[in-house]
């Protein structure tokens, strides 16, 4: 007796978000009585809305997207946090003269309006004293922001590191990432979300889904190569596109670098820190990411730890993972 359940990813399947597909291939959901359908998304904001509008049972959505929609009153909640840093930051070419925040002044910075980091650029600027009046902001489509940087149509871009770094790296373009996390401008990344009514009415399903997804994440952390092979089989176009496999590998590595977080190590996979969320809410409010008429948000509403904390990795396992992701931390300028 299996149940058909659907889940949406935040964006097109890629190395940073594909773990539900691995679990599906490995039978982690079937053994829990779930016949899972994994769909792609078109950005976290739309994905969260689609879940709220019952187009999907659950979603893998970046925290920023959920936050914006909850501020508009959509009754959603995160069941588990998978990525602990959205890797918001600036990306510049390796030989760019931009090294310190002040260097942005007089330059042109590209940004994707619908991308999660876009609203937080002002927060980063405020923290580091960049005079945004002296920076030209250039809105660009997600499909070509990296190329705009490569072709020097812009001097820098704002980016989600795990999306943009791999694109340029697989084209052989050397870049430098300037992470905002260092100044405290940091958001959680991928979370598993559901509607409040689903959580209240069907805790068993939520538990099964969280367990299946976290088991999948652990598998990809432990066996990154094997996991990628599963991905290439499921999405053959990744192998066919120029640099597709390198791209997937790097984005997986970058995403996994953000999974090595104290919350997961201390409390178990999927754990969300409520005080950290509170800080993120006030960051979002300061950044203007929440509109003036937004509902006051309570951190406990944003995430629940009801379903997490059961899967814990040993310190040996964490050590192995740290070794795996070390090169990616370097790419992120976080090493």
């Amino acid at each position: 007796q299996t149940r058909a359940i659907s889940i949406t990813l935040p964006w097109v399947v890629n190395g940073s978000n594909y773990w539900p597909m691995v679990g599906k291939e490995l039978g982690y959901f079937k053994k829990r009585g779930i016949d899972l359908t994994v769909s792609r998304g078109n950005g976290s904001v739309a994905a969260a809305q689609a879940v709220a509008n019952k187009q999907f049972d659950l979603g893998v959505v970046f925290f920023g997207g959920t936050l914006v929609n909850m501020a508009r009153g959509l009754p959603l909640q995160a069941l588990a946090t998978v990525g602990y840093d959205a890797l918001m930051g600036n990306l510049v070419l390796e030989d760019s003269p931009i090294r310190a925040p002040k260097d942005f002044e007089g330059k042109r910075v590209g940004t994707v309006a619908t991308s999660a980091e876009s609203p937080y650029w002002t927060a980063y600027a405020a923290k580091t004293g960049i005079d945004l009046g002296k920076v030209t902001r250039q809105q660009l489509d997600a499909r070509l922001i990296e190329r705009a940087l490569m072709d020097k149509q812009v001097d820098a871009i704002t980016a989600i590191g795990s999306s943009s770094i791999p694109v340029l790296d697989s084209l052989g373009v050397k870049t430098r990432f300037i992470p905002w996390a260092k100044t405290g401008v940091q958001l959680y990344a991928a979370q598993v979300i559901a509607r409040r009514e689903t959580i209240e009415a069907d805790a068993g399903l939520c538990q099964a889904m969280v367990d299946g997804i976290l088991e999948s994440v652990v598998y990809t952390l432990k066996k990154p190569e094997e996991s990628l092979e599963i991905l290439y089989k499921a999405q053959p176009e990744i192998g066919m596109a120029k640099g597709g496999k390198e791209n997937a590998k790097i984005s997986q590595g970058l995403a996994q670098a953000t999974m090595v977080a104290p919350e997961a190590i201390e409390h178990g996979m999927g754990w969300s820190s409520i005080p950290t969320l509170a800080g993120m809410i006030s960051l979002a409010a300061r950044a203007g990411a929440l509109t003036a008429d937004a509902k006051p948000l309570v951190p406990e509403d944003l995430a629940t730890n009801r379903f997490v904390g059961k899967i814990k990795l040993s310190s040996a396992e964490w050590e192995q993972i740290r070794k795996n992701v070390a090169p990616y931390n370097k790419m992120l300028g976080l090493a």
Binding site: G43, V45, A48, S118, Q139, L140, L144
Partner: protein, 252 residues
């Protein structure tokens, strides 16, 4: 048209539109649908009023780029059609390629326009011209071609030059066709600019829609689309008015 008819032709469609809006409002309220998923007409109207100065400010670049794209597309379209209709060689050589070109799903090429032409307004303008140009060519050519054979024979009998035939017979005859192509081109020119703005811009209603989607501000998205519709209607009305004027001045 009698007065009764006029009234009926204005009142009936308005009634239908109002009824649709009322139904929409009732559904949203009845099922308590959240504004971020589907705002009620009243919510859109309220958002429209609140953000009106912002909308106007963003409407301006969209409007002028659409008008410019449309004007260039119309001129180029009529000129290409004239070339194709006056030279048999050009026609045989180019027409099948024009038709083939028209079949390209140009929307898929939009991002490449920015790669090729840069992030300035010229890439949006070019894209707008690129997609609104073909309806004008095709329609104008149909008009230039479907000229009464007997009028062409008359011209031949009067030893008229090809240029005289074009200006005094083909073009006047093609005017209604040109306008039907131009009416389609108004919508296409706007779509071209909007898509261009989606891809890169710092202002414009397309940018605003994108920005509102990032903020999950569905009411603002729909308010911006409403402004676009009003502009589209005015634009269409302008072209229809020009047609009527030309019709009265030069028409049959």
């Amino acid at each position: 048209m009698s007065d009764g008819l006029t009234t009926r032709r204005i009142v009936l469609p308005l009634l239908f539109a109002l009824a649709t809006l009322a139904l929409w409002e009732a559904v949203v309220r009845g099922f308590a649908i959240r504004e971020v998923l589907l705002p009620a007409p009243s919510a859109i109207a309220q958002r429209l009023l609140e953000t009106f100065p912002l909308l106007l400010q963003h409407a301006w670049p969209t409007v002028w780029e659409s008008l410019a794209g449309f004007a260039i597309a119309s001129l180029l379209g009529v000129a290409l059609a004239a070339l194709l209709s006056t030279s048999a060689l050009m026609r045989d050589m180019l027409y099948p390629n024009v038709v083939l070109f028209q079949l390209i799903p140009k929307i898929a090429l939009a991002p490449l326009f920015i790669v090729w032409l840069g992030i300035g307004f010229q890439s949006r303008l070019t894209f707008s011209v690129f997609i609104s140009f073909f309806p004008v060519v095709i329609a104008t050519l149909a008009g230039l071609d479907h000229v009464d054979k007997s009028l062409l024979r008359l011209c031949r009998a009067l030893t008229a030059t090809p240029w005289q035939v074009f200006t005094s017979v083909r073009l006047p005859h093609a005017l209604p066709y040109v306008f039907s192509g131009m009416k389609i081109a108004t919508t296409f020119a706007i779509i071209g600019v909007i898509v261009g703005e989606f891809i890169t811009s710092q202002a414009g209603l397309g940018y605003l829609i994108l920005f509102a989607s990032a903020q999950a501000d569905t009411a603002l998205i729909l308010a911006a689309i409403l402004v676009l519709c009003v502009f589209g209607l005015a634009f269409y009305g302008l072209v229809a008015g020009l047609e009527r004027w030309m019709q009265q001045k030069f028409g049959a």
